[in-house]
Amino acid sequence: MRARWRAAITALAAVTVMGTGAACGDGGGESNPKVLTYWASQQSPSVQRDKEILEPELRKFTEQTGIKVELEVIPFTELLNKILTATTSGQGPDVLNIGNTWSASLQATGALVGWDSAMMDKLGGAGRFAASALATTGAEGATPAAVPLYNKVYQLYYNKKLFREAGLTDPPATWDEFVAAGKRLTKDTNGDGKPDQWGLALRGQASTVALHYAYILGSARGAKYFDGGKPTFDSPAAVAGIEQYLSWMGRDNIVNPSDAENADWADVYEAFVNHRAGMMLVQTLGKTLSDYKLTDQDYGVAAVPSIGAGGTDIGSFVGGTNISIFKATDNLSGAVDLVKFLTSAPEQVVLNTAFGTIPPVKDATGPAFDTPEVKIARQTMASRAIAMPRVPQETQFETLIGKEVVKWLADTATGKQPNGAQISAALKAAAGKVSAGG
């Protein structure tokens, strides 16, 4: 009886495995040339608006090629999980957007079609794309797994009214000036003895954002987070970068401690719009602030301050969205056509204008890209932005360190800013999690 049970269980396991396995062909068929499924990442404040922007453009594509595109817009918070599920089951879209920092990690799954020079030539050659954007398409030295679609960089947005009231004329250019400006902006306006207007607003509970700051500030001091594939998170430069970030709320006291609870950008925008914060450091916003009825009379845009002497001038990482083709596609040539269409100069102008992002292709020009915001962003992209670590463990790095920084900010908010030794020890433990079992 026992032997029979064992046989049954083995058979069951085999069926389970094969049932999933049979669905996973190894990529790039042409059996379904008239239809494409496209997973677009949410780029505007609402999924609905993304659809309204993308659908007319995709209709043009259908008119040109006769290929129908089934569009699904997915918020970034759900996108990675959906991609992983699709990768495991082999049931996914033909074309998909990915957060550009995930490129190397997703490349390692082997689920994405590679973009060698022959493939890139179909898009007009790699030379059409900005070099900094191309550096986000996969691991160093490997065939890229994605093509740049939209770019963003961190920028400093400042509230002109509060700057005037504080007697500040120019946005800060260095971090020292930044903290000094923050201190002048932080004050008690209703006379209850507690400050209610602050220098800076932060989205403190978002691990992705916390990691961005830690990475930018650490890299400016020369921190390297990976040595080959080996994590080296606990360098003194990395620790100093994190301490700088925490000190804005802690020692410098230019951030409302309650910001440690902020889970959404909307919390930060509201503080900025309602004159409760003078500055915010966010990725290229485009039209977001006009939703709050702000114009460039109300706010200014500047580059992220620099570290000054003794460091590297780094103001941002290269943020944005890439586009990839799923290997399990049954319409490879159609998928390439769609990528070609979306990265063509006219579509790049339309889409990047609508989303308020920076086009990664050099031949996309137009009046929408002559604003100070985009000019500064393009300068940052060209000379002050670095890619996130180009290793398969990048998503682990983002999650593990991001979570730690969020916790430290929470400690700082409750009056217990961690010291360098505590930070260093926790970074070392986080590095241990990256290698564990993997």
Binding site: G90, S105, E261, A410, A429, A436, G438
Partner: protein
Amino acid sequence: MSRRRLTPYLFLLPALALEVFVHFGPMIAGVVMSGLKLTQYQLAQWWKAPWAGLANYRVVLDVDQPVSASLLSSFLVTVGFTLVVVTASWVFGMAGAVALQNTVRGRGLLRTLFLVPYALPIFAGVITWRFLLQRDNGMLNHVLVDQLGLLDGNAFYLIGSNSFWSLCAVETWREWPFAFLMIMAGLQSIPEEVYEASNMDGASPWRQVRSITLPMLSSVNQVLILVLTLRTFRNFETPYVLFGGTVPDQARLISVEIYQNSFLTFNFGLGSAMSVLLLLFLMVVTAGYLALTRRRVHEV
């Protein structure tokens, strides 16, 4: 066995096979995955992932390693959380059910009101709590600090050590209507005459609860406590929604920990090993609990 006796079983066989497959298929897949070295490199063809034997379990159980230390801390948080929530839910459920046992005016209305948290979609309910508990604009601080003046400065409820109690409060709010519902149903089955007889003997209401209600509810309570414990122990949605993605250490439940290990750090083998250990733990607890309580229930 004659053919006639076999026939009904043959008819049942397809349904049984399907049920076994649907029920145990994912579990077996999980157990198999826990023995694989399964990270993003193997994901697209996970059935070809190299066999890791017990390596994942060794990582999970070696408390000197960061992965295991953090799992252990989340396990302890979950045990504390489960004890608090199950106790509080049961006490509230019992109190509510006993209070509404006798016909009081507006009983139907109160019953409906008590069940609202249970009927509300999880996200809607928990996100409302998030708003209430915010430090600057939340209602709790507004009442405690601005109106009653009980606290000096605004406290944090969503970060730091208070986050554990916030999580317990929200989860109790979600779970106690279930306890209320079960106990209320159990109370209906206690014959009215028993209470009448004890009234004649001059028993106080408190004595009635202790000597009649509780013993006669023991079989309901046995199931209720078990179900509450299992539900609470595996809870994921409440911390995930309440803390907006990054759960503070003090409130990090074990399912959040497993989620982070599988989906955020791409280590599915490790995540599966943790899930299997959780499954084993809950099976042991359930078996132990049933063995311990069976005798007592039967004595009644």
